[in-house]
Symmetry: C2
Subunit: 344 residues, 2 copies
DNA sequence: CGAGATCTTGACAACGTTGTCGTGAAGGCT
DNA sequence: AGCCTTCACGACAACGTTGTCAAGATCTCG
């Protein structure tokens, strides 16, 4: 039984210990150490405990790069998550949901923001691909199709969140935008409103299309004709959202209720209504919940998503090699006051 | 010049192309391809362009695991970021700041949340270590010291954010909690207040200590004696924060102004004040800015941090192998109404 | 024109691990 | 006792890359 002098007590060596170091200390071959570390059968209890204690003494931890390089199944226990903006509360919470599930399974998570920039998305897809992620969880844009197809062809596993990509064979986690919006609009209709303004984002965005369709559904079901002057689809930024809200309120026959199709737009609408002193007279329902919506006066009625659940579900799908199809996470209408203001 | 049959037009092969595949197609040795890919000198223009086009045709991308394994400098172009909660707006924005800088340098970022759980922090430190991150950016807890020392000894680069770790030789990015809090409290003193309540978190947390010290500084400088009944240090959760605010307001001689030492506490205080109809009579200044603080009535005056800047700076320090020392990111007092309510 | 310097390229080892196969010892069975 | 199986372990190749070294071709200069 060979026994090498090892440093003990003093600072650990700068080079991290390898299988060979542990093997030398335990007096076995490095392959045996590999077996113990990976829990493979065929090691006697005696040797096993000797190896264990040697590994502990040296503080051995396997080198992930070497493992990834050698393993037959090519697993790296790593996910890549590609979102619009990890600083945005919605996506931050979604990321947190992914992480919760991933951690339990020993999977580490790369995160990156694209700001909807197509080149950045492509670059990060490549960067994650080079790092051999087991799965890529991505909130795609319309232009994602190309590099995602390519990534799929290279054997990557892909899970889409928030938006689908047409023609891409990959599991998708979505919410029912249309139904959620419809319920929100029906809510104000139930309180007597018939002139309901809609402020959303560009219909080139998948979620925007669904939400607008829900608005249309609700009005049609109630027998209310769509007034195009009440529909504003350029609320993409705070500035433009504000302009759109102002424009609606400046109409000769302004809406008595507003449906805002995204959190940023909702917040902007709150601000404009407050400044004009209309908070208590114009009804407001927004898509997406946001922190403090319940502290405003009146509280803001919203159609809430559950981003943490979305992320968690996406991670589960990413872990399951045979998952596929469209998975819907339900939305929930939360009445808080602003949506219950009756029509005049 | 050897020329192998390669699939063209059809779907890309499942196995990703390697240096050898590119070399075969270009009719050179794989080492030459390596040189071209890494931009090493000593390759003739002719060969270089042949290799380039072969690499393009096959869609070659280097295998990060192999590179990490072989490189002399052991660089993986990967950071690990370990935060309290990636879903919390403060940390989410900080993460975003890290990412911005990292992306520009081609560095991918692992993110993980600890929820202040010591075991999780240890596990993730190990997981990131196994994946050979170039640097670990971490918001440490009091109990981080052990595994961080160990990680340092194993050659990891560490950058601390938000909180230092005593005795650990690593660059730190902090804000001046004491000064920020002092300015906030001085602000309400300037508006005539002398009975100023303080609601903070447990002083075992580094930031809490500094903020409380700032409160004490401001009062002392103004010649106001500290009234222990106005100081509450158990505002760690929403529930307990609420209880503390209620308790302060229930005093026989209640404070005329509140200083809340963290965003969650501030939001809770807003809620309590609103419910009691005191929003316009009790002054409020909070530490940490938060979305919608300006939409509340009155707007909430805050001592704002710049988490994105903190993250970006941490990433820069992580990239610089000789960085060290304490780096302070300034705070900023933002008056919005609640802090300017005069004393009765 | 010859000797040395430089330039371009390739052969090969090595990184730390997993997968395959081989080998000697112990055990089971007739 | 002799043979076959099982068990425990080791030797070695391989993963895809970078680093080292050497070899041949070309260039430089007296």
């Amino acid at each position: 039984m060979a026994s090498l002098p090892i440093p003990s007590g003093g600072p650990l060596p700068l080079r991290r210990p390898t299988l060979r170091d542990v093997a030398a200390l335990a007096g076995v071959s490095f392959k045996t150490v590999s077996r113990v570390v990976n829990g493979e059968p065929g090691v006697s209890p005696d040797v096993m405990s000797r190896v264990r204690s040697a590994a502990d003494t040296l503080g051995y931890r396997p080198n992930a790069a070497a493992t990834a390089l050698r393993r037959a199944d090519r697993r790296t226990a790593t996910f890549g998550v590609l979102l619009e903006d990890a600083g945005n509360p919605f996506f931050a919470t979604l990321l947190r949901g992914v992480e919760d599930v991933a951690r339990q399974r020993g999977v580490a998570v790369f995160a990156s923001s694209t700001d909807l920039d197509r080149d950045r998305e492509r670059d990060m897809t490549a960067a994650f691909g080079a790092r051999q992620v087991d799965a890529l969880i991505i909130a795609p844009t319309e232009s994602s199709a190309q590099h995602l197809h390519r990534a799929l062809a290279e054997g990557a596993r892909i899970v889409l969140v928030d938006r689908p990509v047409e023609g891409l064979t990959a599991p998708v986690v979505l919410i029912d935008n249309q139904r959620g919006a419809r319920e929100g609009v029906e809510h104000v209709i139930a309180h007597g409103h018939r002139r309901i303004g809609y402020i959303g984002r560009d219909p080139s965005i998948f979620t925007s299309r669904g939400r607008y369709a829900g608005y249309v559904d609700a009005l049609e079901a109630a027998g209310i004709a769509i007034d195009p002057s009440l529909v504003r689809l350029e609320g993409g930024t705070r500035t433009s959202a504000q302009a759109q809200v102002e424009a609606l309120l400046d109409l000769a026959d302004p809406p008595t209720a507003l449906f805002t199709a995204q959190d940023i737009i909702t917040m902007t609408a709150v601000s404009v209504l407050q400044r004009r002193g209309l908070s208590d007279s114009v009804a407001l329902v927004g898509f997406d919940d946001f922190e403090l919506a319940d502290l405003l006066r009146p509280g803001i009625t919203v159609v809430a998503q559950d981003p943490r659940r979305i992320g968690a579900l996406a991670a589960e799908l990413a872990l399951d090699p045979v998952s596929s199809g469209v998975h819907l996470v339900p939305t929930r209408l939360i009445p808080r006051g602003s949506g219950e203001i009756p029509a005049p």
